[in-house]
C-alpha cells in the first residue's frame, strides 16, 4: 500500500482483497450542489405525481388489452418521478452518503451508500484497461478542483469509483489501487484528463487478445428485430381489424375520426424491427471477410474514380473578381430560418399553455393548473434556450457575412493563389482577422461517448485589424495572395480523420454585448503537381 494514500480513507483488509471506505465528499461546493439537487429533484417529482393523479382521475379508464394509451399516459409522468427521485437521491448522497471501493483478485467494485440504500457496480479485472482521474473543468471556479475516478474498459461503460473529490486526492487513491492490483499481473495505468478531452488514444493499441471490441451478436439482433417487427405487425392487424369493425368494444381511445390515428401506433415497432433485420441480412454478406477485402475497390459499389478520392470537394460559384467564390460551411440565414421556425412553434405552444393556465386559475380548477403549469415550466426552459440561440444567430446574420474569392480551384501544394476578402458594412469591429490555416480533426469514441479534437498545424495571417469602422458604401476589402507550402499535407477527409485547409474570417463586433464571429471557407488543396514525373 502506498504511504501517500490520504489519511481520511479507511482501508480494510478482507480475506480475498481490500476495501477502501471513502469519507463523505468535502463540504463547500459539494454541500451546495447536494442541497440544490435535492430541492431541484422535487420539481419533476411533484409535476409527475400531479400528472399521474390528473390522468387517473380524468382520462385513464380500464379499456381492454389495447388500452395502450392509458399505460403510456402513466409511464411518461412516472419517468419524471423516477428522474426527479434519482436527482434528489444524488443530492442527499452528496450531503450524507459515502462510497466504498472493493478490490479482489478478479474484480473491482464500487458501492455508493446512503443509509440502507446502496448503488453497486463492478467490472472484471481482465476487462479493466486503465484508471482515469477526470477533472470536471480547468476553468477557475468552485467546480474547477473537482474530479471523478473511473475504471475504464474497452467495451461497455466505465465504472465510476468515486466523485466530487479533488484531483490530487483521487490521484493518490488511484495510484494505491493500481499498485495493489498490478502485483504479479499486467500493470494498470493511471491517466489524468479533463472531462471531454482524452489525453491519449494509445490504449487502443494494447488490446488483449480477447479484449477487442465485439459487434452486437447477430442472434440478438435477429431476435430483437423479429420481436419488434412481428409484434408491430400483430398490433397493426389487431388495430386495423378493430377500426374496420368500428371498434365495437371501444378498446381504442378517442372518437372517430381521430380514432383512426391509432393505425400509426405499430410503426415505431415495425420500422426499427425491419431495419434491424435488414442490417443483419447485410452483415451476413461480410462475415468471414478480412478488413482489407471489405474495403477493396472491387467490393465497394461506389468506387470513387477521381484521381484524389480522399481530397474532399468544396462547393463554390463563379466569382465577381476572381475565378471562384467560396461558399461558407453553413449558408447565411439557414440557421436563422430553422431556429425561427422552432422559436415560433415553441412560442405558440407556450402561449396556449399560459392562456390555459390563466383561464383555469381564474376558474379555480387547480388540478388543471398543476398539470399545465408543469408543461409551462418545461416549454419555458426550452423556449429560453432556443430563443437564446436564435438571437445569437440573428445578430450574426445582421452583422453580415464576408465574401471570399480565390484565383484558382483546386489549389496545389507549393503554388501561390490570389485571394479577395470583402466584409460588408456598416459595422464597427473591435478586431478583424483573416487567415489561411490548416487544421487536423479526429473523432474517437471513449466508452459510449464520441469526442472530436482539433489541432492547428499551419497558419498564415493575411490581415489583422483593430478598431475598424466599415461604412455601408466602403466595405472592408483585402486583396492578397497566399502559398500552401510544398511540403504541407493536402486536404484529406475520411470518416474519422480530417486535414482541412480553410480561410477563416474572425473578429468581434462592437455592440452593447460584444459579438464574436468566425466564418470558415474550406479550400480543396491537392498534393504538389509534378510528383512522379507528372506536370
Amino acid at each position: 500500500m502506498s504511504t501517500d494514500l490520504p489519511s481520511d480513507i479507511t482501508v480494510v483488509e478482507t480475506g480475498d482483497g481490500v476495501r477502501y471506505v471513502l469519507p463523505r465528499p468535502a463540504l463547500g461546493i459539494a454541500r451546495m450542489m447536494g442541497s440544490s439537487l435535492a430541492l431541484f429533484g422535487l420539481a419533476p417529482i411533484g409535476g409527475g405525481i400531479a400528472f399521474i393523479y390528473f390522468s387517473l382521475k380524468h382520462f385513464v379508464r380500464p379499456g381492454g388489452p389495447l388500452d395502450v394509451g392509458a399505460v403510456m399516459a402513466l409511464l411518461c409522468p412516472l419517468s419524471f418521478v423516477v428522474i426527479g427521485g434519482l436527482l434528489s437521491l444524488f443530492g442527499v448522497w452528496l450531503l450524507a452518503g459515502h462510497s466504498e471501493i472493493v478490490l479482489t483478485a478478479d474484480q473491482i467494485s464500487s458501492a455508493f451508500r446512503l443509509g440502507p440504500i446502496v448503488w453497486r457496480g463492478r467490472r472484471g479485472r481482465r476487462h479493466v484497461r486503465r484508471l482515469v482521474v477526470e477533472r470536471s473543468s480547468r476553468v477557475a471556479g468552485p467546480t474547477g478542483n473537482l474530479a471523478s475516478l473511473f475504471a475504464e474498459t474497452d467495451k461497455g461503460r466505465p465504472l465510476l469509483l468515486a466523485l466530487v473529490y479533488s484531483p490530487d486526492w483521487l490521484s493518490a487513491l488511484a495510484a494505491d489501487i493500481a499498485g495493489r492490483w498490478s502485483a504479479g499481473d499486467e500493470p494498470i495505468p493511471v491517466i489524468h484528463r479533463d472531462a471531454g478531452r482524452a489525453t491519449s488514444r494509445r490504449w487502443r493499441r494494447d488490446l488483449t487478445a480477447a479484449g477487442g471490441k465485439r459487434a452486437i451478436p447477430a442472434w440478438f439482433l435477429t431476435v430483437w428485430g423479429l420481436g419488434f417487427f412481428g409484434g408491430g405487425i400483430l398490433f397493426f392487424i389487431l388495430i386495423f381489424q378493430a377500426l374496420v369493425r368500428g371498434d365495437p368494444g371501444n378498446n381504442l381511445q378517442g372518437d372517430f375520426p381521430w380514432k383512426v390515428l391509432w393505425i400509426l401506433f405499430p410503426f415505431p415497432f415495425i420500422i426499427p424491427g425491419a431495419c434491424a433485420l435488414a442490417y443483419v441480412r447485410r452483415r451476413r454478406a461480410t462475415v468471414g471477410l478480412s478488413p482489407e477485402q471489405l474495403k477493396s475497390p472491387e467490393r465497394l459499389k461506389a468506387v470513387d474514380e477521381s484521381e484524389y478520392p480522399t481530397v474532399p470537394p468544396v462547393s463554390h460559384v463563379p466569382g465577381a473578381e476572381l475565378s471562384a467564390r467560396l461558399t461558407p460551411e453553413l449558408a447565411a440565414g439557414c440557421g436563422v430560418t430553422m431556429l425561427l421556425v422552432v422559436v415560433l412553434i415553441c412560442s405558440g405552444i407556450l402561449a396556449s399553455l399560459i392562456a390555459f393556465v390563466i383561464d383555469r386559475t381564474w376558474n379555480r380548477q387547480w388540478e388543471y393548473v398543476g398539470m399545465a403549469g408543469f408543461f409551462v415550466l418545461f416549454f419555458g426552459v426550452l423556449w429560453t434556450l432556443v430563443t437564446g440561440l436564435f438571437v445569437k444567430e440573428w445578430r450574426l446574420w445582421r452583422l453580415g457575412h464576408p465574401v471570399v474569392e480565390v484565383a484558382a480551384l483546386p489549389l496545389y501544394c507549393g503554388e501561390e493563389c490570389g485571394l479577395v476578402v470583402t466584409f460588408p458594412g456598416p459595422a464597427r469591429l473591435r478586431r478583424l482577422r483573416v487567415a489561411v490555416m490548416c487544421e487536423e480533426a479526429a473523432s474517437y469514441t471513449e466508452g459510449d461517448e464520441t469526442h472530436k479534437d482539433t489541432r492547428r498545424v499551419h497558419e498564415e495571417v493575411l490581415a489583422r485589424e483593430e478598431d475598424l469602422a466599415i461604412e455601408r458604401w466602403a466595405p472592408f476589402r483585402l486583396r492578397g495572395s497566399f502559398r500552401v507550402p510544398s511540403a504541407a499535407m493536402h486536404s484529406f477527409k475520411t470518416t474519422h480523420n480530417e486535414v482541412r485547409w480553410l480561410v477563416r474570417v474572425e473578429g468581434e463586433a462592437e455592440r452593447l454585448i460584444p459579438l464574436k464571429f468566425a466564418h470558415d471557407f474550406p479550400l480543396p488543396v491537392r498534393p504538389c503537381r509534378g510528383n512522379g514525373g507528372r506536370t
Partner: protein
C-alpha cells in the same frame, strides 16, 4: 504457423516512393506443407493512426486461392507490382497520421497470419502544432 512465417520484401530501400511511381516486391510464406495454406491476400493500403478512430483505404487487393497460395509456400515466393496513387500521401501529423503499407494475410488451418511492410508515399513534412 507464426507471423514470422510471412515475408514481404520491397525492391526499393529505403522504401520512399512518389505518387504515380511503381511499387514492386516479393512475398513468401514459409510453411512445412503447401496444404496448410487455404488462401492468401495481398493488399496495398493506407490507414490512419493517431487520436482518431482508424480509417482504412485499400488501393490494391489481390486474393489467392488455395492452389495459388500454396505455390507461394516453401520459399518459392510471388512477385507483385502496381502503380501508386496520387493521394493520400504519407503524413505524420499531430493527431492525424496517414501510413501506407503492403500487407499480406495468410489463412491456414486453424488461424491466420498477417505481415506488413510500411513504405512512405510522397514527401510531406512532419507537422507541428501551432498554439491557438
Amino acid at each position: 504457423m507464426s507471423r514470422d512465417a510471412v515475408t514481404i520484401e520491397l525492391d526499393r530501400d529505403p522504401p520512399d516512393y512518389l505518387p504515380d511511381e511503381s511499387l514492386s516486391g516479393r512475398w513468401t510464406v514459409a510453411v512445412a506443407s503447401d496444404d496448410e495454406v487455404r488462401s492468401a491476400e495481398l493488399s496495398v493500403l493506407w490507414y490512419t493512426d493517431g487520436k482518431g478512430e482508424e480509417d482504412l483505404g485499400v488501393h490494391h487487393f489481390e486474393r489467392l486461392s488455395a492452389d495459388e497460395a500454396g505455390s507461394v509456400g516453401s520459399g518459392r515466393g510471388r512477385r507483385f507490382a502496381l502503380r501508386l496513387p496520387r493521394a493520400p500521401l504519407s503524413y505524420d501529423g499531430v493527431i492525424v497520421k496517414v501510413c501506407w503499407c503492403v500487407r499480406v494475410r495468410v489463412f491456414w488451418d486453424g488461424g491466420e497470419s498477417v505481415a506488413e511492410v510500411p513504405f512512405r508515399l510522397g514527401e510531406v513534412a512532419t507537422a507541428c502544432e501551432i498554439a491557438t
